[in-house]
């Protein structure tokens, strides 16, 4: 059997034994310690289930903070002794029978239902739109009649958007509702795409599947002649030019180039066949291969005011997909989809904090009342014991009573 199965059986058995001991232990402190063992086991099972973040939260919040609170209250109240016999003796066998019936029902349902055979649907494809066309101005991209990039200015890139997989009729419109381009495209499940709008005059649209590999760099050539990505220092010197990516034809996408973790583009340049520098990526254009990002370098023409064309470079970074169950994944969902529930839960925590203070707060008694109450006690106790001893009943037991009481004021009745 696989290691996972052995680990599951071992840790699951420890969790069940700890839960049974919690049920049976007579001392409340022991019960709390067994519950801590149980929570540690559940944190381990979370790790087996790819929920690393929750495993840490379970250990820190549950096994740490909450159980410390339990132990603190048990020891503060001195409540570790058993609660005594229950007046409902018939409850224990009844509960055991009900529990067994419930477990058998669940086991039957699980064996018949076949939960494990169900398959998750594949993730939706994601599409982002980049408008790098020279002459088109703001654009709108419609897929099957619904807009995915509305009022998209020249030079802008939209965020990824999830769409159902399938065939789409695309329509590219100018702001005055002229149709500039129409066609069709196919989006496959689990893929990420960049819809790149480029070209001079009438815009063209290229659908580029984004690579998932971290640190891969590709060049898309939207310029009219073949280009090369070269090392700029070697370009200036007399030695042979170091070509990083060669001969990317117009309208074509280069092969991926593996980029080191801390690479930037400050010493690289895009040149044409005649070794004329077309454009240089700026030093600010960086992407972090170590964080799982890959990138697309797009060379596109830009229309100047005088009407001349100039090559510009844009870097479209593909962020890494947040790993399942990791802190980034949880955090993204928490602050996007679940922001309102999180606010409500935060409010609940605040109310609980105030409630705990209000519940345990002791109202302050006015000082003169308190003094009167204490004075009455101090006089009355010896008096009653004196009366009791004169009456000749319960001498020693009641004499020690006032001494056994804690100092005045600490005990409230």
């Amino acid at each position: 059997m696989a290691t996972e199965v052995w680990l599951f059986i071992l840790v699951g058995a420890i969790a069940v034994v700890a839960a049974v001991m919690l049920l049976l232990s007579q001392n409340a402190v022991h019960a709390a310690l067994f519950l801590i063992i149980n929570m540690g086991c559940i944190a381990f099972l979370f790790l087996l289930l790819n929920a690393a973040f929750l495993a840490m939260v379970q250990l820190a919040v549950y096994a740490g903070a909450i159980m410390v609170l339990f132990l603190f209250v048990i020891m503060l109240l001195g409540a570790e002794r058993p609660g005594g016999r229950s007046p409902y003796g018939w409850l224990a066998p009844g509960a055991v029978v009900l529990a067994l019936i419930f477990l058998v029902t669940v086991a039957l349902a699980l064996s018949q239902g076949g939960i494990s055979d169900l398959q998750a649907p594949p993730a939706h494809p994601q599409l982002r739109v980049a408008n790098l066309a020279a002459d088109a101005g703001p654009l709108e991209l419609r897929l099957n009649g619904s807009s995915v990039g509305d009022n998209l200015p020249q030079g802008s890139v939209r965020d990824y958007e999830a769409l159902p997989p399938g065939d789409y009729e695309l329509e590219l419109r100018a702001l005055d509702d002229r149709t500039l381009l129409s066609g069709s495209l196919v989006l496959e499940a689990g893929q990420r795409y960049t819809a790149l709008i480029h070209g001079t005059g009438a815009p063209a649209l290229s659908l580029l599947p984004d690579l998932a590999e971290a640190g891969s760099l590709r060049v898309f050539n939207g310029w009219g002649e073949a280009v090369f990505l070269v090392d700029f220092a070697s370009e200036l010197s007399d030695e042979d030019t170091i070509v990083l990516l060669g001969d990317v034809a117009p309208g074509a996408l280069s092969d991926p180039l593996a980029v080191a973790d801390d690479a930037d583009f400050s010493n690289q340049a895009l040149v044409n066949e005649l070794d004329e520098v077309l454009a240089r990526p700026g030093a600010g254009m960086i992407f972090n291969a170590g964080d799982g990002e890959s990138a697309l370098l797009v060379l596109s023409p830009l229309r100047r005011f005088e009407g001349t064309l100039e090559a510009t470079v844009d870097l479209l970074v593909t962020p890494s997909q947040a790993s399942f169950g990791g802190p980034a994944d949880i955090g993204l969902k928490l602050f996007n989809q679940y922001l309102l529930p999180m606010q409500i839960v935060a409010l609940l925590l605040l109310v609980a904090m105030v409630g705990a203070i209000v519940l345990t707060h002791r109202p302050k008694v006015a000082p003169e009342l308190e003094r009167a109450r204490l004075g009455r006690r101090r006089v009355s106790r010896p008096l009653t014991s004196a009366i009791a001893s004169q009456l000749g009943q319960g001498g020693s037991g009641q004499d020690s009573d006032p001494a056994a009481l804690p100092p005045a004021g600490t005990q409230e009745r």
């Binding site: 019960a31 289930l49 409540a79």
Partner: protein
Amino acid sequence: MLQTDAYVMLSMVLFVLGAMGVMLRRNAILVFMSVELMLNAANLALVAFARQWGNSDGHLFVFFVITVAAAEVAVGLALIVAIFRTRRNINIDELNQLQG
């Protein structure tokens, strides 16, 4: 990959043990700890189903359950302290003043 069935069954066993603790124990603090055990068992099932569907929404729910449990423990233990202060006893069978 281990089947989701196994995790759900384990979570049900823990849940039932917690429910029995709630029914059978007399000490209010132990009843409270049994409720925590039941919440933990439900969390385990949620995380198992989240892995089954490859969707981390289940993790978010567990996160919220843990937060609400923290709030519940704060208020519940404050109640127990307040009751113990007035009655010197937290046996739940004797705390029946609210009975009709």
